[in-house]
Symmetry: C2
Subunit: 402 residues, 2 copies
């Protein structure tokens, strides 16, 4: 048991959690824009937030509240990011949590909050207030599907993942949902992800596992190079599985982290595939680096190169642009050792052209391209997923906000 | 006297220098592809080269030879970058200098060399050999125009600048030429710039002035974010003006550096304007930064944001994307102090929307956009010039190399 492909909507649930998703009128389209996810009992919780210094109000609240390590859940609106909105914005975010806590009879400070949407526009928190009763009444164990829909902005499809596995002597379930299409309608580049699990694990250990999983998934995708003011990933663990506690650095910890990583990698890759304007999913495998840091730097620099991304859009196996990116990545590099292959076709051996460009051009005329770069300078590795850069990207992102 | 607008081709010369430019057959189009610039007497010389760790063979030779501080000139080919070409490439670059030195009767090691064009393809140095006699015979004091043409790759127009000013008691001339269109046909993103002057200045002082000028010009433009394997800027000073020697930290030094900066800023802005696919020239003025380093980091992060660049292409005064870029720039930042204006229209005051978006949208529907960001955290400043990101950029850079 592990990742479950094509699960039925009715299987997308975790014992002890309820959720709901409704339209409260923040989105002009009338689509769902308010989500609620709660744990029936106080849950262990961990969170990771944007590194952008300009942080939206809900991020500031979340960073503070997550410190105590327990939470009852999260309320999320889409359609408005509540970022660059000053003190008024902070009050609006706080009010969202107070409204939910009161309606649910939860203690003050027990709820978290997220927002995603347009920047710099005051959040109409009265819509949240008006919708609260309906939102709470809608709570059900099957509500995660509605909640997933309600956090979407320009996502072409809802992003859900489900994994199950034996941990601590019991079958543990992890459900994950995410939103984000990377290169997005103006101001909506935010990535949000929520994970629910019935595993028995304390918040400090949970945070460690979560950090590892997020680094290998959401922190390993690059669509454009911008970091949102609102990026948030939260995990809640309620212990309902009844397994023994997952302690740090045990086999159970490894098993749990593996399951969690599997779910988050699946979600992260869905975000890349949904990158608006993306025509190809590109996996960059850096091998033989002197350090993991070098491997990640190399992968990021290639993934962020507009010249590399446009070449892939055009189906051009332009390895010169990859060599150029490696050279400015700030890593330990010996050009004469580098090997590069595109979908299995070696295009560079020891820094020189192999003459197989025509073969490589054919091999990359597909939806998924795997680039392997072997630096032959060490034994560290990293993988990053990215997209190409298309006309559609420019079209979507240059459209005036309406 | 200083920068000379719209000078006649016959005025583009500096006493004591000769140049030539011919077609030797490296470019398949039959256009000029081989340039020679020489000083009639040994000149003081300084050079600045790409920071990319993958350096083309001519860059390696230049970095070594420039150390002695004197040179007789440079031979340049376009159409082939001679990068990622291994030992064979190094020999080819060296041979270019040997051929020129022999034909001119110059001592070994006195000539520099540059290449620009496709990466990873062996340089057909025999074409240079065949063309050498014609190249040398073509040398003339009026030859800088031909040389400027011969270093072009996908440049839409030749880039030339001429400044004159009183330094050391005499009128000093500086002529500058450059190639580069920033976002370029596959593998031709290289920037080359050569400056000739009759100023009387020693190489160490010359290098200092040159570094200052290049930092404020070629190092202050961003078209895409890639650094070429071949970027090279060289300056030659022959002292023919007869002025007194320009010593470090004197009024003459300042006057000379100012003239040189003026010429190089003009050339750098020409490169941005010629950015293929660029529809707008964007000047980013960062003010009130805690340090110059912060100001430059802020400007670079904004200039490198694909979201910012596409918004400008669309004429969208999307200040949220600029705030987002500032937040991840790694600078000292207090969001609640930031002011932003677009072509004089304030769109953000103290971190909040001013409600003047419609006015700003009208103000930026022009070819040149000036963005002023005041961080109000200090007194340091920086200016960076960049372009928007258009369909044409994607088109040009995704086209398969032919």
């Amino acid at each position: 048991m592990s990742y479950i492909e094509n699960f039925a909507p009715e299987d997308f649930k975790v014992p002890g959690f309820k959720a709901s998703g409704i339209a409260c009128g923040i989105k002009k389209t009338g689509k769902k824009d308010l989500a609620l996810i709660i744990s029936e009992a106080p849950a262990q919780a961990a969170g990771l937030f944007t590194t952008n210094k300009v942080k939206a109000a809900p991020v500031l609240i979340g960073q503070y509240r997550i410190k105590k390590g327990t939470s009852r859940g999260v309320i999320v609106n889409s359609g408005n990011a509540n970022a660059c909105t000053g003190k008024q914005g902070y009050k609006a975010a706080e009010k969202m949590t107070i409204l939910a806590e009161k309606a649910l009879g939860f203690s003050k400070g027990s709820m978290l909050v997220s927002s995603t949407g347009v920047i710099g526009v005051p959040l109409p928190v009265e819509r949240v207030e008006e919708g609260m009763q309906k939102l709470v009444e809608g709570l059900s164990v099957d509500g995660l599907n509605d909640a997933t829909e309600a956090i979407m902005t320009t996502d072409a499809f809802p992003k859900r993942a489900l994994v199950k596995g034996k941990v601590g002597g019991k079958t543990v379930t992890i459900a994950g949902m995410a939103k984000g299409a990377g290169m997005i309608c103006p101001n909506m580049a935010t990535m949000l992800a929520y994970f629910l699990t019935d595993a028995n694990i304390k918040s400090a250990t949970l945070k460690k596992a979560f950090k590892q999983a997020i680094d290998l998934s959401f922190n390993s995708i690059i669509v454009d190079n911008d970091t949102s003011t609102n990026d948030t990933a939260l995990i809640f663990a309620n212990g309902v599985s009844g397994g023994t506690e997952i302690k740090n650095n045990t086999a159970d910890f490894k098993a749990f982290t593996k399951l969690l990583t599997e779910a988050s990698v699946k979600l992260a890759k869905m975000i890349v595939k949904d990158g608006e304007g993306a025509t190809r999913l590109i996996e960059l495998d850096i091998r033989g680096a002197k350090s993991v840091n070098d491997a990640r730097k190399a992968a990021r620099t290639i993934a962020e190169s507009m010249l590399v991304k446009t070449a892939f859009f055009g189906g051009d196996p332009n390895w010169g642009r990859i060599m150029g990116a490696l050279g400015r990545a700030g890593i330990s590099l010996d050009e004469s050792k580098v090997d590069i292959s595109f979908n299995g076709v070696p295009v560079v051996k020891k820094g020189l052209d192999t003459g197989k460009e025509a073969q490589a051009a054919t091999a990359i005329k597909v939806k998924e391209i795997k680039v392997i770069v072997n630096l032959r300078s060490g034994s560290s590795e990293a993988t990053i997923w990215t997209t190409d850069l298309s006309y559609e990207y420019v079209k979507i992102n240059s459209a005036y906000r309406t």
